[in-house]
């Protein structure tokens, strides 16, 4: 049985022996190296740019600046996933420290680097703005002429009568929560190689959305989509940071200027920090509640600091709007979600995108409410959590939702009902829990192709990106099950837009669900073809035949069978293949936020125990239990590792991760000063629970248990020492100050 089996990753041997063909190791003959000259100022007019000296430096093959885009036949200067507001290299104006201003391609990286210093740029500094709330105030510096008050996106939800809802409440509580800029911090940085040959562009890139990037590049270079080929090798992590078009235009435009030799652009760690970030957020949340614990109304206003360019925000801010409500029955809901330009690097997806920030607010808020009502926080949640058949704030009916099971499972695993040793000396212990809901992409389509050859080898062609999460292994298991062959007979061909069928993106935990379903459909189609080919050989009509275990057989008489291999051989076929797809439709009304937010809901919960040292404020997470709704588990070990990984990943932004900005300059752009968790930070007891349902749909589980981490920890701190920290990260110093002020 391929489904439900804990197989190791298909390429686990390659992974531990350093044989995975990462972008980082890829070199092409004649390849040039690119370096980026970046703006030192957060907001400035470029008054002069002279690269003539740089162009004459040894080894320099090409220099690219905004003026190059004025030439006849030149590509478009501006690109973007939805809103094309971002220049490949700055023209006239820079809008954040680190914005690309000019590009160099040279024979060696050292020559390219040396030439950067020979480019002369003069700037006239302009006033800058960094905080999203300040950026919408009258008189704030404006980044883009077309966007007054820097409001790039405004997503709304209007459900019921918010004022009436608050009027009905016995208690109305308003709080503000903040979450800072943070890094996705994939081990492998962004790397792209671009090559022009015969008017066609080939791009190798560590990217999560091969087809999206292909389409964006085709627009940028005025090409047919088929003239652009995007190939994606396995990634050394992504976490949303490689979710949209990003450094590909720079590499491709430089290669265009070079006109032949391939160009490699690989970012350094400090450049990663100015390329993409997690959205900073200020979230004002107000809830009306009756004394019996039922909710009457919720209003949420979120200011998403989106950085200087739209990047993924036009899609993510509306998604963040839906994700900011919380998985509760609330009759009257009013949400405003603003995507705001600021003079900082662009923000985009981050594992648990927008839910990490939103759940931080609504789940911390939940415990504040519970305290005010004198209720057990778990109990108050269970009273209000949405169940299948309820209607959400978007008006849609909830189906296959298991928030209650997830939360109860994590609480039970932690031992919520067990007595807690509250600590001695300077140590105080407490418990907290949190639950979250996340939508996925509402309207989307995935395709897969399966091919079987005369050796019985099944090849899965999929544009799902393997980035360490084990997607190719899980999908191979689905492919094996759908065709009826062992997993060892399946090989996976990964994303190459010239070879593998369409899929928009490996993100939003959609692949196991969407690509999994597409593979099931292509497996069924391939079986039909095998049955059709077997019918004349078995001399039976097709509706008398079934396919399983590598053979087609007569349903009523399973001993009469013919193996897949024999079907092909005896039919003189080299191979048989079939394509399958799966698509979903949905969408929300832009004025009211009513409609279908998502084809299915991502559901996760966590419960934890912490120790707080009241003399230092230091928080130690000692026990954690994480539960996600997995629908039907394909590979239990890999699924558990996703749950565990989420918790460890989430502890960073909860406790110490923060990009520190001084006058627009990031002062900790390295992994010595910017702290991510180490293995020594992993809770001594870390448990994973996978909740399944009879419906048996595959669900993505790559993010579900991450958003609850920060609020669960914060709630446990509240339980331990009675202080509420409302700004991430929850540093030791913040806790100590709060303790001394309490």
């Amino acid at each position: 049985m391929a489904i439900g089996e804990s197989l190791p990753m298909l390429d686990s041997r390659e992974r531990v022996t350093g044989q995975v063909p990462y972008m980082a190791n890829m070199r092409l003959p004649g390849m040039l190296y690119a370096k980026v000259l970046r703006s030192p100022l957060p907001h400035a007019q470029i008054t002069r740019l002279d690269a003539s000296a740089a162009a004459a430096m040894p080894g320099v093959i090409a220099v690219l600046a905004a003026a190059d885009f004025d030439a006849p036949g030149a590509p478009e200067l501006f690109y973007g996933f939805r809103l094309r507001d971002q220049p490949v290299v700055a023209k006239d104006k820079v809008r954040y420290v680190g914005e690309p201003v000019a590009l160099i391609a040279a024979d060696t990286p050292e020559q390219a680097e040396a030439a950067l210093y020979a480019i002369e740029v003069e700037y006239e500094e302009l006033p800058a703005i960094y905080d999203p709330v300040e950026a919408v105030q009258p008189g704030a510096p404006q980044l883009h002429d077309a966007t007054p008050e820097n409001r790039m996106v405004h997503a709304k939800l209007r459900h019921g009568d918010i004022e009436a809802g608050f009027a009905e409440a016995d208690l109305v509580i308003e709080e503000t929560y903040t979450s800072p800029l943070a890094q996705q911090t994939s081990l492998e940085p962004h790397i792209t190689i671009a090559e022009w040959k015969d008017g066609k562009l080939t791009v190798w890139s560590g990217a999560q959305a091969p087809f999206g990037i292909r389409n964006n590049l085709a627009e940028l270079f005025h090409l047919e989509r088929e003239q652009v080929r995007v190939i994606v090798p396995p990634l050394g992590g992504a976490y949303g940071g490689k979710g949209h078009i990003r450094i590909e235009p720079m590499a491709a435009a430089l290669a265009w200027k070079v006109g032949g030799r391939p160009v490699r652009l690989a970012l350094e760690r400090a450049e990663e920090f100015v390329t993409v970030t997690k959205h900073a957020a200020t979230i004002i949340i107000k809830t009306g509640v009756r004394n019996d614990g039922t909710f009457t109304a919720r209003q949420v206003t979120t200011y998403w600091g989106s950085g200087a360019y739209a990047d993924a925000s036009p899609g993510l801010v509306p998604a963040g709007m839906v994700r900011s409500v919380g998985p509760y029955r609330i009759p009257n809901v009013h949400i405003d979600s603003y995507g705001i330009y600021t003079n900082l690097p662009p923000s985009a997806a981050y594992r648990g995108a927008m839910s990490s920030q939103s759940a931080w607010a609504y789940e911390s808020h939940m415990d504040t409410i519970a305290r005010r009502l004198g209720r057990d926080p778990l109990d108050l949640r269970l009273q209000n959590l949405l169940v299948s058949g309820d209607h959400f704030a978007t008006g849609e009916e909830m189906h296959d939702v298991h928030f209650v099971e997830c939360l109860e499972a994590s609480a039970r695993r932690l031992g919520w009902d067990q007595p807690l040793d509250r600590g001695v000396g300077s140590i105080r212990r407490g418990r907290g829990c949190a639950v979250m809901m996340k939508s996925t992409v509402a309207t989307s389509r995935s395709e897969a192709r399966l091919e079987i050859d005369t050796q019985g080898q099944v090849t899965l062609y999929t544009s799902t990106v393997e980035m360490g999460q084990g997607a190719h292994t899980a999908l191979a298991q689905v492919a094996a099950a759908s065709v009826g062959v062992p997993v060892s007979s399946v090989r996976v061909v990964g994303p190459d837009t010239a070879v593998t069928p369409f899929d928009p993106t490996t993100s939003a935990s959609r692949s196991t669900n969407m690509m999994g379903a597409a593979i099931l459909n292509s497996g069924a189609a391939l079986k039909r073809k095998l049955i059709e080919a077997a019918a004349p050989l078995l001399e039976e009509p097709t509706d008398h035949l079934s396919a399983a275990d590598g053979a087609v057989f007569v349903t009523a008489s399973p001993a009469e069978r013919i193996s897949y291999v024999d079907i092909l051989r005896r039919s003189a076929l080299d191979k048989l293949d079939a394509t399958g797809e799966f698509s979903t439709k949905g969408g929300l009304d832009p004025e009211t936020g009513q409609g279908i937010a998502t084809p299915h809901w991502h559901q996760g919960a966590g419960a934890c125990e912490v120790e707080v040292d009241i003399e230092t404020g230091k928080v130690c997470v000692t026990r954690y239990a994480a539960a996600s709704f997995a629908g039907k588990v394909i590979n239990p070990v890999l699924a558990d590792l996703q749950n565990d990984g989420n918790v460890i990943f989430g502890m960073g932004p909860a406790l110490f991760e923060e990009m520190v900005i001084d006058n627009g300059q990031i002062v900790n752009p390295n992994l010595s000063d910017y702290m991510i968790p180490s293995f020594l930070d992993v809770p001594a007891e870390l448990n994973s629970v996978l909740v399944e349902s009879e419906k048996g749909e595959f669900h993505g589980i790559g993010e579900m248990t991450l958003p609850p981490v920060a609020p669960a920890i914060a709630n446990a701190i509240l339980d331990a020492v009675g202080v509420r920290i409302a700004s991430l990260p929850i540093t030791s110093e913040k806790v100590l100050r709060a303790l001394l002020e309490a």
Partner: protein, 158 residues
């Protein structure tokens, strides 16, 4: 980042002020400052060499006196760049003088925007370096005043 510090000079505010007005001379009291010259009224050009262990920077830049209240307050804008580390510094300096028991308390505030590679070096080091420079400056200023003849009517340059 905002730096604040103060020191006391053993001389009345008007004498300290007279010193402050002579920027090229005064700049000799800032460790690492070289080649200061006036390029226009209230505008000076100069070089600041800073060395912290193995890390060395040479900032070339300008100082503009933007506001003055003789004997009381001086405001200046400073900007400079260090080519080798691709770093830029911009700062607003406000110094105030106040009499105190026969001497002068010099309070200053400096709002510094340091950008580029050196910015990674961190708040602690920049603050520490500034503090040490302030201490040397105060000592030097005191010595300079002590070596001046005790004339109450030092000509002030504008």
């Amino acid at each position: 980042m905002l730096l604040k510090d103060s020191f006391t000079v053993n001389a009345p505010p008007d004498r300290v002020w007279a010193m402050l007005e002579n920027i090229p001379r005064l700049s000799q009291c800032v460790p690492g400052v070289e080649a200061v010259e006036a390029t226009a009224p209230d505008t000076y050009r100069g070089v600041l060499k800073v060395k912290v262990g193995p890390i060395a920077a040479v900032f070339t830049g300008q100082v503009y006196i933007t506001d003055r209240a003789p004997g009381e307050r001086l405001t200046a804008e400073v900007e400079g760049q260090d080519k080798s580390s691709a770093s830029l510094v911009k700062a607003t300096f406000t110094g105030t003088l106040a009499p105190s028991e026969g001497g002068t308390i010099f309070n200053y505030e400096m709002d510094i925007a340091l950008r580029g590679r050196l910015a990674q070096f961190g708040l602690a080091v920049v603050q520490g370096v500034a503090k040490n420079m302030t201490a040397s400056f105060a000592e030097c200023l005191q010595a300079m005043i002590a070596s001046e003849p005790l004339s109450r009517n030092n000509p002030t340059t504008h």
